[in-house]
Amino acid sequence: MATRPTDPLVRLEGLTVAFDGVRVLHGIDLAVHRGETVGLVGESGSGKSVTWLAALGLLPKKARVAGRVLLDGENIVGASEQRLDDLRGGRIAMIFQDPASALNPVLTIRRQIGEALALHRGLAGAAIGAEAKRLLDLVGIPDAERRLSAYPHEFSGGQNQRIMIAMALAGHPDLLVADEPTTALDATIQAQILDLLALVRRELGMAMVLISHDLGVVSQTCDRVAVMYAGRIVEEGPSERLFDDPGHPYARGLIGALPPLDGSRRRLISIPGTVPDPRDPPPGCAFAPRCLHADRRCTAEVPHLEAFEAERRMACVLAVHRRAVHRRELVEA
C-alpha cells in the first residue's frame, strides 16, 4: 500500500441520520484516504447505503442529517445545493445496484455520459462524443462509437454497469462510492466488474468505497473493511486481519454464516433473532439481544469504537480483553 498523507480525503465525523424522528444512523466515524479502498459490509438495516447517500446529500428532504462530512477539510453537510451539485460526480461519484434501472431509459448513452462531461469538465459538442467514446473504450464496451447512440435497454446488465462506471468516471472524481454494484449481476459478470473497478482505480488513482453484503467480494477488493450493524460501525480494520480473526461477535457471526467452499462442512453459525427495528432499539448495545457473549455491561450503555490492535477498532466490551491479549503478545514477541 502506498504511503498515505496524514489527512484523509473524506472523513465522516459523527454522522447521524433520522427519518421522521427515527434514528437510523447513530454517529458514523470513518476516514477514507486517497487511493484507498474501504469496504462497508452489513445486512439490510445496517445503514451502509444511507451513510453515503447522506454524505452526498442524496437523501429525501425529510431526512435529518447531522454531523460532519469533511472533504479535504471542507464540511459538506448542509452545503448549498449548488456546491453539492459540483461535488457530486466531480469529486465524489456514486454508482448503484441494478444498472438496468439506474440508467434513464429514454436518453441515449451519449446524452447521459455527455451530461456529466458537460457539467464537470465543461466539454461540448464533438469533444463530448470523443471523450465519451474514450470512456466506453476504457470500461470495455466494444464498438463504442456506434453504441453511443444506443439506449440502455439495448445492453446487457453487465454492460449497463460498465456504462454507469464510465459515467461516474466522466467527472474525474477522487472517490468512487459503489453501492452494491454487482449484486444484481451473474457471478461471472460480477468478477468482470470487480476487475474493471480495480483496473480503473489503479489507472486513475481513485479511492473507492465498496458497499456490499457479500463478504467474499469485499475481502478480495478492499484494503480496509468496516462492518456495520443497526446504524453503527461495530468493527473496522485491515481486510485480511478482519476476515482472518474477527473481533466483534457480529462480525464473527457474519463470517461464520458463510458456508465454506472447501474444507470440511460444518454447521453454519447462525445468529439467532433478527435485526432490531430502528423505532424500538434495545438498550445499550444494539447487538446484545442476539449476542452469545452479552452481559450486564452490554445493556447498560452503547459501546464506542475503541482500538484493540494496531489499526483495528471495535465497538464491544470485549475490546478491552482483546487489547490486553494483544499487548501480552507484543511483549512476548
Binding site: 445486512e43 439490510s44 446487457s156 453487465g158 454492460q159 451473474d186 457471478a187 461471472t188 459478470i189 460480477q190 468478477a191 468482470q192 476487475d195 453484503h213 463478504l215 467474499g216 467480494v217 469485499v218 475481502s219 478480495q220 485480511e240 476476515f243 482472518d244 457471526g253 457474519l254 463470517i255 461464520g256 454464516a257 458463510l258 458456508p259 465454506p260 467452499l261 472447501d262 462442512r265 454447521r267 453454519l268 453459525i269 447462525s270 445468529i271 439467532p272 433478527t274 435485526v275
Partner: protein, 331 residues
C-alpha cells in the same frame, strides 16, 4: 443397486419466441438434453447463471411443465400428464419451494391455514388431527403456534421461508425441489434456513434438487453437484471434489468468482463477454466464445458429457487427460 427415486433422461424443453410483432419465430432451448438421477435421501445441487436453464429443469423434473423430449421417471414410473388426478396425487410426494416466500404465500390467510391446506387437499389424516400436525410442522421449522396465527406480511423474510417449507413438508414428500430458496434473504438468515434444510435432510431422509447460483450454499447442502450452462450439464460430480478441482473451464470460472474471505485467490479466471442468449446459441461448444482455453476445434465440435473417473463427468474437449475425448460433431 436400487432404483433411483428420480431419473431424468435426455430432457429438453424449448420455447418459441417471436422477435417483434412480425419477426421470425426463433426456438429457445431452455433445457437441451439433461440427464441425471437422484437416489432416495440424496441431494443433487444444480448451479448456473441466468440462461443456464436450471430453474426450467427444476420445473420439468417436478412435472410442472412437460418436456419436449426425453422423460422423467419418479419412483420407477413416468410422470403422469399434467392436470390428471394421478398427477395431482403425486403432488403429495414431490414439492417445491421458490425464491420469493412472500409471493408463494397467500396474503389474506394466516400461516397455519396455509400450512394446513395440503393436508385438506390430499385428505391426509383425520380432519381433527390436522391442526395438531400443523403445530408440529411449524415447530419443526422453528416457528411457534403464535407465528401460525399471523399473516405473511407480519413475518420476516426468513420466517416466511420457513412457513413455506412447513407447508411443503406437510404431506411428508419424498422429494423437494428448492429453487433459489435463500437468495432473497440476509446472510445471517440464510445460514438459519440452510441449517434448517440440512437438519430436515437428516431427519426426514428427503431427496432434494437444490438449484442456486450460490456455489457455497449448494456445496453445503448437496452431496453431488451439476453445473449447467445454456441448457446443458457441463460438469457433474461429488460436490467437494468438483469445487476443489474443477475440470470444466466454466466451473473454474464460477469457483473463481466465489472468493473466500481471508484467503488470497489463486487461479483467478475472469470470463470475457456476457452470459449467452439461449435464443442465439454459439456453434460447437456453446461455451467457446467465453472460454479462456478454447481452441479452434471448440468452434466445430460439441463435446459430450464424458466420464472422467471418480464419479465425475465433464463436457469439454480438454477435460480428460487424453485429448481424444469423444464428442458430438455438429451437423
Amino acid at each position: 443397486m436400487s432404483e433411483p427415486l428420480l431419473r431424468v433422461d435426455d430432457v429438453a424443453r424449448h420455447y418459441t419466441m417471436r422477435r417483434g410483432l412480425f419477426g421470425r419465430p426463433t426456438e429457445v432451448r431452455a433445457v437441451d438434453g439433461v440427464s441425471f438421477s437422484i437416489g432416495r435421501g440424496e441431494t443433487l445441487g444444480i448451479v448456473g447463471e441466468s440462461g443456464s436453464g436450471k430453474s426450467t429443469t427444476g420445473r420439468v423434473v417436478l412435472g410442472l411443465e412437460d418436456p419436449d423430449r426425453g422423460s422423467v421417471a419418479f419412483d420407477g414410473a413416468a410422470l403422469p400428464p399434467i392436470g390428471t388426478p394421478a398427477w395431482r396425487g403425486l403432488r403429495a410426494r414431490m414439492q417445491m419451494i421458490f425464491q420469493d416466500p412472500l409471493g408463494a404465500l397467500d396474503r389474506r390467510l394466516p400461516i397455519a391455514t396455509q400450512v394446513r391446506e395440503p393436508l385438506d387437499i390430499h385428505g391426509l389424516g383425520e380432519p381433527t388431527a390436522r391442526d395438531a400436525r400443523v403445530v408440529d410442522l411449524l415447530d419443526r421449522v422453528g416457528l411457534s403456534a403464535d407465528h401460525g396465527r399471523r399473516f405473511p406480511h407480519e413475518l420476516s423474510g426468513g420466517q416466511r421461508q420457513r412457513a413455506v417449507l412447513a407447508r411443503a413438508l406437510a404431506t411428508a414428500p419424498d422429494f423437494l425441489v428448492c429453487d433459489e430458496p435463500i437468495s432473497a434473504l440476509d446472510v445471517s438468515i440464510q445460514a438459519q434456513v440452510v441449517n434448517l434444510l440440512t437438519d430436515l435432510q437428516a431427519e426426514l431422509g428427503l431427496a432434494m434438487l437444490f438449484v442456486s447460483h450460490d456455489l457455497r450454499v449448494v456445496r453445503q447442502v448437496s452431496r453431488r453437484v451439476a453445473v449447467m450452462y445454456l441448457g446443458r450439464i457441463v460438469e457433474e460430480g461429488d460436490a467437494d471434489d468438483l469445487f476443489a478441482a474443477p475440470a470444466h473451464p466454466y466451473t473454474r470460472a464460477l469457483v473463481s468468482a466465489a472468493p473466500t474471505p481471508g484467503r488470497r485467490m489463486v487461479d483467478r479466471v475472469v470470463l470475457q463477454g456476457d452470459p449467452p442468449d439461449p435464443a442465439d446459441r454459439p456453434s460447437g461448444c456453446s461455451f467457446h466464445p467465453r472460454c479462456p482455453v478454447a481452441a479452434s476445434r471448440c468452434r466445430i465440435e460439441d463435446p459430450a458429457l464424458v466420464e472422467l473417473g471418480g464419479g465425475r463427468r465433464a463436457a469439454c474437449l480438454f477435460a480428460a487427460p487424453g485429448a481424444d475425448a469423444p464428442s458430438r460433431k455438429v451437423a
